[in-house]
């Protein structure tokens, strides 16, 4: 990630899309400013956690308001502006709004979360599955279904409105009906391949189990987790973590996998719980060491975390994936809470500081103000020239969690 300005410039010039967007942005100074800042590596000012969190939440509210249907717009794109609502991520954004309402005491966030949950029920497929892609499509996707279950489950817990639990049960039943005998989901999946990050889907089933005590959900989740554990290599790497077959995975999907494992582990007996925890800690520690050792001298702040990591735990990208960074910070903080190894917390705080420096809280463009971009630099290989709603969501989650842990330490 530490590249010379000249090579950054060359990298920028030789991408056609960049030039197209660059020309377009000449007429939109706010967009041009982002590109120029990234070209010259000029960061934004860092403010308090509260300000950054409020910025991200306001951006998420804006993404919801833009669609007019209750769902959140998938991204703010330099090319197309606000895009269609995205069922998958709207699902898990519900949980962020509920947490934020608890933190701030503002009931408007509960109301917004309800609107999201209601929209998700309205567009739920008759099978119980959740639609794939952004907008209203007719095909179901396993992962998206799991992510919306997480939101419904939290909404039910918060409001005790059984409509959300019923919707979650219908979705969970569909997931249980299509799982392969060996525990993987290979049908109705993104790119029609099984993914290790479906561990998050297992987690969603366990959330339904928590509310229903129906052991079918727990058994299916266990089956999937055992399949994911069968993918663990000797060096701690987990196969099939990418979006595509043979892809060097993004930190986004690597940490999806780890988070799914970590959250699921809490539901199982000690033996399986410790086994899963060990897998998560091993992988997370390797990532943390990579992050901390990527610096000019021992006293320097680490460089940005590379957006892709290969199966030898080597960095394979010259951009950082900010969604993955925020997710990583969450997993590191959660590990600290479990094993009290404060190195994880330390790295998470540093990483969140770096994301803060890339969040513009003063832009006059509502699509940029408070949003978190897909990549740094903006033309990086993950959601280029876009501000995805899930980046803001995970960043907000991470700041809330960091605040809780630091408050505990300060007491």
């Amino acid at each position: 990630m530490r590249k010379l300005s000249l090579s950054v410039l060359v990298d920028f010039i030789f991408r056609k899309t960049n030039i197209k967007i660059f020309v377009k942005s000449i007429f939109h100074p706010s967009l041009l400013r982002v590109i120029l800042r990234d070209l010259f590596r000029i960061k934004y000012n860092r403010y308090s956690d509260k300000d950054h969190l409020a910025g991200a939440m306001e951006w998420l509210c804006m993404s919801q308001d833009m669609t007019g249907c209750g769902g959140c717009s998938a991204t703010y794109s330099f090319e197309r502006g606000w895009t269609l609502p995205y069922p998958e991520t709207t699902g898990y954004i519900i949980s962020t709004f509920l947490k934020y309402s608890t933190l701030t005491g503002k009931s408007t966030y509960i109301e917004r979360a309800r609107q999201m949950g209601d929209w998700e029920i309205d567009i739920q497929l008759p099978t119980g599955a959740v639609r794939g892609g952004s907008g209203i499509n007719d095909y179901p996707i396993v992962f998206n279904t799991g992510m919306v279950i997480l939101g419904w489950s939290d909404l039910y817990e918060f409001t005790k409105d059984t409509r959300y639990l019923d919707a979650a049960i219908r979705a969970a039943d569909w997931l249980c009906s299509i799982i392969d005998p060996d525990g993987k989901w290979s049908r109705f999946t993104y790119n029609e391949i099984p993914h290790a990050y479906h561990s998050r889907v297992a987690w969603s089933l366990l959330e339904v189990y928590k509310h229903t005590a129906n052991t079918v959900y727990k058994d299916v989740a266990r089956k999937n987790l055992n399949w994911v554990l069968s993918l663990v290599q000797r060096n701690g790497w987990i196969e099939e973590m990418g979006f595509y077959k043979g892809e060097i995975p993004l930190t986004h999907t690597i940490v999806y996998t780890l988070r799914g494992l970590l959250e699921s582990s809490a539901y199982f007996e000690e033996e399986l719980r410790l086994k899963i925890f060990q897998v998560v800690v091993t992988a997370s520690e390797k990532l943390m060491l990579k992050y901390e050792l990527n610096k000019r001298h021992p006293n320097a702040t680490p460089g940005y975390f590379p957006g892709r990591i290969n199966s030898k735990w080597q960095p394979m990208a010259n951009f950082t994936c900010l969604t993955g960074d925020a997710q990583m910070a969450i997993v590191w903080i959660k590990i600290y809470e479990l094993n009290q190894d404060a190195r994880f917390l330390n790295s998470a705080i540093k990483m969140l500081d770096q994301i803060k420096e890339l969040q513009d809280l003063n832009s006059k463009n509502n699509g940029l103000k408070g949003g978190i971009r897909g990549s740094y630099p903006i033309w990086g290989n993950y959601m280029p020239y876009s501000y995805p709603n899930w980046a803001a969501k995970f960043f907000a989650d991470a700041l809330i969690l960091q605040g809780e842990v630091i408050n505990k330490l300060e007491r």
């Binding site: 010379l4 021992p298 320097a300 702040t301 404060a342 330390n346 500081d353 330490l409």
Partner: protein, 263 residues
Amino acid sequence: MKTGIVATGDPRFALTLFYYLKLRSCKPECIILIKRNIFSKIKRASFPRILDSLQERCNNRQTGQRRCSRDYLAEFARRQEIKLPGFSLSRICKIEKMRLFITDDVNNSRVIDYLRNAQIDLLLNTGGGLYKSEVISTVRTGILNAHMGPLPEFRGMNVMEWSLFYGRDIGVTLHFIDKGIDTGDILMFKTIPVESGDTIEDLRNKSGIVNIELFYTAIKCISENKLERTTQLKDKGKQYFVMHPRLRSIVENRLSNSFVSKI
């Protein structure tokens, strides 16, 4: 036994150590000063680096670390009747008939050649960075490092802060340097007395005194063949990194709010 001191930046600590050892008839043969000259600074400079370092400085200023309340090293020097001369290090070395070796990298071939030709038995590291195996093997007995935390538990950076974070005894571990980071054989550990009102900087300053005492004890033991080396169990420890200012301020507050003397 021929000894040398490796110093970096402000040579005040190295000079205090030098005079302390001289007073006890263990006068070092040389001082190797690691100093970046203007050419090496220019060679390493680049626009992003300059921007990064400016930002780092700005961030550090914002966090406002607490300063040292007393100059413990100067007080120690006074107690030991050490008077640091007010002139340059090169002049002091000339007067003391001691070789001063200024370099921008402790691992360069000139340093290795010098150490080999001068047949240095023991180097006392007071901040030379990472040593390559060629340098380590050139020094006959080895290179001693005073590490600001208990080993093998706390390796790496800011280990004093990390020890305080975990509520552990703070102190200095004297160990030999090997290829790893703080993984060499351990010689001894000495705790640092914590007093009411101490800040982290105070404790760091106090650790300098403990370092000097430990270096002297080690030289004495080596020359009397009484040294016991303990191999580190690498699995027992963890490598720590620079502590984030927010955690550091939590440690600082704990230190000032709930003072409990460990000594």
